[in-house]
Amino acid sequence: MNNIANQNPKKPFEYSRKWSMRLVFIVSMIFLYAPIIVLIVFSFNNSRRGGNVIWRGFTTDYYKKAFANEELMLAFANSITIAVSATIVSVFLGALTAIFLWRFRFPFKPLAEGLVSLPIVIPEICLGVSLAMFFSKMGLWTTGDTPWPLNLSNIILAHITFSFPFAAMVIRTRLQNFNREMEEAAKDLGASEYRVFRDILLPHMRPGLIAAALLSFTLSLDDFVITFFTSGPNTVTFPVKIYSMVRFSITPEINAASTLLIGLTLLLTYIALRYQRQMINKND
């Protein structure tokens, strides 16, 4: 209530100004970032040895090598295809889920809510194993002969299953601050149920849809465990490929490939942030 004081509230427990707390924070940030930075730096190391202990000069050879590695590039293309397809369906399914849970009262609602959030909380290995068994039992297992991109369908189905609940969560959060009176106002002015949805609800949901899309995309691109169990013999994704390379031997090429994926993640984060800022500016 005191405007002047609120401009610079000095809180009694300003932990962020204590040097000991800052030290914990900084050390933790080093802990979080140092391995990734070392990984990126040593992707430019001119050394054939794995483990990358000693700096032997700058080179981009391993990037060239990574780009020339056909299997790796195919895995990358697979990953992007899977992520794009899974994202489209996840956002659609997530939006439907968010709307029906947000809007309606129906019997067994807590059960439905629990079911929708269950794929988020159960250990991924359980989901991976059960989907693998499901595909094999249903005879949906892709073989080496299945043409691209149909051979990715199992992985895409699996990715949708674990990422649409996240999308629904994000979209529902957005819906929660929708003012129902807007809908009533539109109806009062003569809009039909469908027009209300198209003209009022959908524009309100848009930032949520975009956030959900970015989240689904990242989740799909990141997934290793579930893909590892549901992928067929010839359907290797980027993380699965890196995993098999790591198991085989540690080379700077893996660092280069990893750096590419990190770069992609950074780019997505940047887009998300820019979009968010745009939305904030628009709202002002």
Binding site: M1, N2, N3, I4, A5, Q7, N8, K10, P12
Partner: protein, 388 residues
């Protein structure tokens, strides 16, 4: 100053200032608070009263100035080492502790023995009439009951000064009036000095022994409620405590215990006064504006037709009858004056009868006795001394 006769102040603030970046939240605040009084810090929101309260409690450190409690410098003492306790605006009753645990918390922190704690908690709870709620959890209490817990929790520490931040703002209207009286009674029982922060002038006037009016981080006036009402030091205080009608003074001369003021609309007004009020200077009122003000309570309204011969001592404002708003004990009568600002009068029911029968637009005369006029500076000069 009359400090020779008043007892040693329990809390004394000297030239307190607080800046947040380039903004001065408080500037040059000096005030002495006496033992056992209820002292109110009154002002509109953003005036700095909360900051001042937080400086007294120790949550903020002033940028300038000194704070003494019982003669000891406490400017930089942390809040947990000050014999001062606070009732928060949100009450801040710990939700994970029972009522008794909340009240006992401060004593535990002091290291008081558990038998003693038991006893003191019971006493404090009975003081606020919550004996039967000892084992309840806060979410089972109403807002008013939570406030009592917060009160008991602070009082059980036997603070030298109890701070109350907007104590009645979260209560509904009926409870508010009851709690006003109860707080005053409680203060009389425990004898602890109370400092109450409020933006509600009626609250301050009803409860406090003395009131400090703050505006834009500066202390405008410290006085008793009746002193503030009858002798406001400037236009801001006059308007903040009650309402006033004001007219700009154009020129002021002062001689022979008499001020001759040229006033817009009202012409020449002669006021008996030994000296001009502080902040008001003689001469043309261009750069140091002053006003002539009077309160609606001092205005009488009569029909122009049966108006007595104009007594030369009154201010007379002719106009026509406007709306009459019924207010219970009295009514507010509006006298409209063409395109000039209208004047309102607070009139009791016996004098209202003759007006009530008249249609809107009947010519009337509003008058105010010369003795009820106040000559005030429109803005308080920085060099002004405090009243009292």
């Amino acid at each position: 100053m009359i400090s020779l006769i008043t007892p040693e102040p329990i809390l004394s603030l000297t030239n307190i200032g607080k800046s947040f970046g380039n903004v001065d939240a408080l500037d040059g605040v000096s005030v002495d608070i006496r033992e056992g009084e209820i002292f109110a810090l009154l002002g509109p929101s953003g005036c700095g009263k909360s900051t001042l309260l937080r400086i007294i409690s120790g949550f903020e450190t002033p940028t300038r100035g000194e704070l003494k409690l019982d003669g000891q410098d406490m400017t930089r003492t942390p809040p947990n080492k000050r014999p001062v306790n606070m009732v928060f605006q949100s009450y801040a009753v710990f939700p994970h502790m029972s009522v008794a645990d909340n009240v006992a918390y401060g004593l535990k922190m002091e290291g008081v023995g558990s038998d003693d704690i038991q006893h003191r908690v019971d006493t404090a709870l009975s003081q606020v009439h919550l004996e039967d709620f000892k084992h309840r959890m806060p979410d089972q209490l109403s807002g008013g009951q939570k406030q009592r817990v917060a009160l008991a929790r602070a009082l059980v520490k036997k603070p030298r000064v109890l701070l109350l931040d907007e104590p009645l703002s979260a209560l509904d209207a009926k409870l508010r009036d009851a709690m006003r009286l109860e707080l005053v009674k409680l203060q009389e029982t425990v004898g602890v000095t109370f400092i109450i922060v409020t933006h509600d002038q009626s609250e301050a006037l009803a409860m406090a022994d003395r009131v400090a009016v703050l505006e834009s981080g500066r202390l405008r006036q410290v006085d008793t409620p009746s002193g503030l009402y009858q002798r406001p030091v400037d236009a801001f205080v006059a308007d903040f405590i009650g309402r006033v009608h004001s007219f700009t003074a154009l020129h002021i001369e002062h001689a022979n215990a008499e001020a001759v003021v040229q006033v817009a609309e009202l012409g020449e007004i002669r006021l008996a006064m030994d000296a001009l009020p502080s902040g008001v200077r003689a001469g043309a009122q261009t750069d140091v504006p002053a006003i002539i003000a009077f309160r609606p309570e001092s205005v009488a309204v009569s029909l122009a037709a049966d108006s007595p011969s104009t007594a030369s001592n009154d201010i007379v404002l002719p106009g026509v009858l406007g709306d009459i708003a019924f207010q219970g004990q009295h009514s507010i009568v509006e006298v409209t004056r063409g395109n000039r600002p209208s004047v309102t009068a607070t009139i009791n029911h016996s004098s209202l009868a003759s007006l009530q029968q008249q249609p809107i637009g009947t010519p009337v005369i509003a008058r105010c006795a010369r003795a009820d006029l106040m000559l005030l500076p429109a803005e308080l000069g920085h060099d002004t001394e405090q009243a009292q």
